[in-house]
Amino acid sequence: MKIVTLGYCCKKSKANHENAVIAAKNKGIQEEVKNIADTSEIVKLGVMSTPAIMIDGKIVSSGRMLSVEQVEKLIEKYI
């Protein structure tokens, strides 16, 4: 399972990425949680509001900072 967080410009996006890393670890996901910070790349993916999270190439959340539990729930849903 590939998890990518989008956005790294503001506090919210950073916290979002950190929460995703912790959630992935808690769920025993081996693959590294990647981050895309480049705005142009983010827009190319169709996202206009960060923080966003992409799981296996699908945007599952955007414009919201998620807590560790919320990311865990998303992982369960798309596993």
């Binding site: 919210k12 509001s49 945007i59």
Partner: protein, 380 residues
């Protein structure tokens, strides 16, 4: 097959239920207005309007309560002094604004969760001409975005083929007009001024955007904005629980972010309200002074504050007899243009467009100020 049918039915009944709730709310409001009209004609409706704006939204009763509490604690004499008055204004305004802010941000965020930028972009793509500008201005009031996400928003809109005029209508109305500002304005100035503020703000957004497009300066965006493609994604539909959770998070985040501005704003407001002589304020910002609007805009534009922090200052100026137009210019200047958002925007557009944008908004704000000072007597 059967399962699907049942699901469809339950969805239909849910929709029906929602419609019923909506109708009930409308009926209750209509009933209240109707009773008011029967009892006392037009006066009755006016009385109802001022009851809502003074007591429910304006919490005048809270002011009286704070006054009583202070009088009981420190005696009547203290309350009559400058310090007593300032303390009363400070306590009353801080409590009022924080209560209103929490309720409002919660409700607004819930509504906003239906309009993520991705969806706004899709809706806007369907409109053409002036209709698109109006939609842009309207959606600007309900789409959540911080200065941090103005670049992706700009890119997304442009790549989706939305014209520069519509994008700028959106960008102008977004910080200027929102539901929260509207309700707060009602609580301080009453319905007529609040409604006018919103209408004028939207008109400024539509005209400003149109000028930017028609004069051709709208093309001067940075090259990287235009390069590359953009995928269309359907954002996951949120459940009701997620929306409530989102609204709660937004409320706490906003409160954390703006409480300092509110305290500063209320502090300045209390100072103006109680320590600065009315003649001084009148001498600089008085209705009969032709330069009052220019001063208000000049001070307001470089300042960066949340609309919630601006209102107590406006409130105090209003009590000192400053013209409505001057106050509107000040508030619009503070909220519409700010240094951080200009810096973000300067990364996405070329200087020529940035300066045209600033010039148009400032000109609009000044014109609004003069027009309202000229016809302000209609509102008070």
């Amino acid at each position: 097959m059967e399962k699907e049918l049942i699901e469809e039915k339950s969805q239909k009944s849910k929709k029906l239920k929602k419609r019923w709730i909506f109708l009930m709310v409308v009926a209750v409001i209509a009933l209240a207005v109707g009773i008011a009209a029967i009892v006392d004609g037009v006066n009755g409706i006016e009385a109802l309007g001022s009851f809502v704006s003074d007591q429910i939204l304006g919490m005048k009763w809270l002011n009286a309560l704070v006054g009583l509490a202070l009088a009981a604690l420190f005696g009547e004499e203290f309350l009559a002094t400058h310090w007593g008055g300032a303390l009363q204004f400070f306590l009353y305004d801080t409590i009022k604004i924080i209560v209103l802010l929490c309720t409002l941000i919660f409700v607004i965020s819930y509504i906003q969760s239906y309009f993520p930028p991705e969806r706004t972009k899709k809706i806007l793509g369907k409109y053409k001409g002036i209709g698109a500008n109006i939609m842009g201005a309207l959606l600007g009031t309900v789409t959540p975005f911080c200065s941090c996400s103005s670049i992706p928003l700009f890119m997304g809109f442009t790549r989706a083929g939305i014209s520069s005029g519509v994008t700028f209508s959106f960008l102008i109305s977004s910080p200027l007009v929102d539901l929260g500002a509207f309700i707060l304005l009602v609580s301080v100035f009453g319905f007529p001024i609040a409604i006018t503020y919103v209408v004028v703000g939207l008109v400024l957004a539509v005209i400003g955007g149109t000028i930017i497009e028609k004069t051709g300066v709208g093309k001067h965006v940075q090259d990287f904005i235009l390069e590359g493609s953009m995928a269309d994604v359907d954002a996951e539909e949120m459940t009701k629980r997620e929306r409530l959770c989102y609204a709660k998070d937004q409320m706490l985040a906003t409160l954390k972010k703006v409480w300092v501005y509110i305290l500063i704003g209320v502090g300045i407001g209390a100072t103006i309200h109680n320590f600065i002589p009315t003649e001084w304020v009148q001498a600089v910002l008085g209705e009969d002074k032709w330069y009052s609007v220019l001063i208000a805009s000049g001070v307001g534009v470089p300042m960066y504050a949340d609309i919630f922090g601006t209102i107590p200052v406006a409130e105090a100026l209003f009590f000192k007899g400053v013209g409505v137009g001057t106050i509107l210019s000040f508030m619009m200047g503070v909220t519409a243009l700010s240094l951080p958002s200009m810096i973000m925007l300067s990364k996405a557009v070329k200087p020529k467009l940035l300066f045209s944008f600033i010039a148009i908004v400032v000109a609009g704000i000044i014109i609004i100020g003069y027009v309202f000072n000229a016809v302000g007597f209609l509102f008070i």
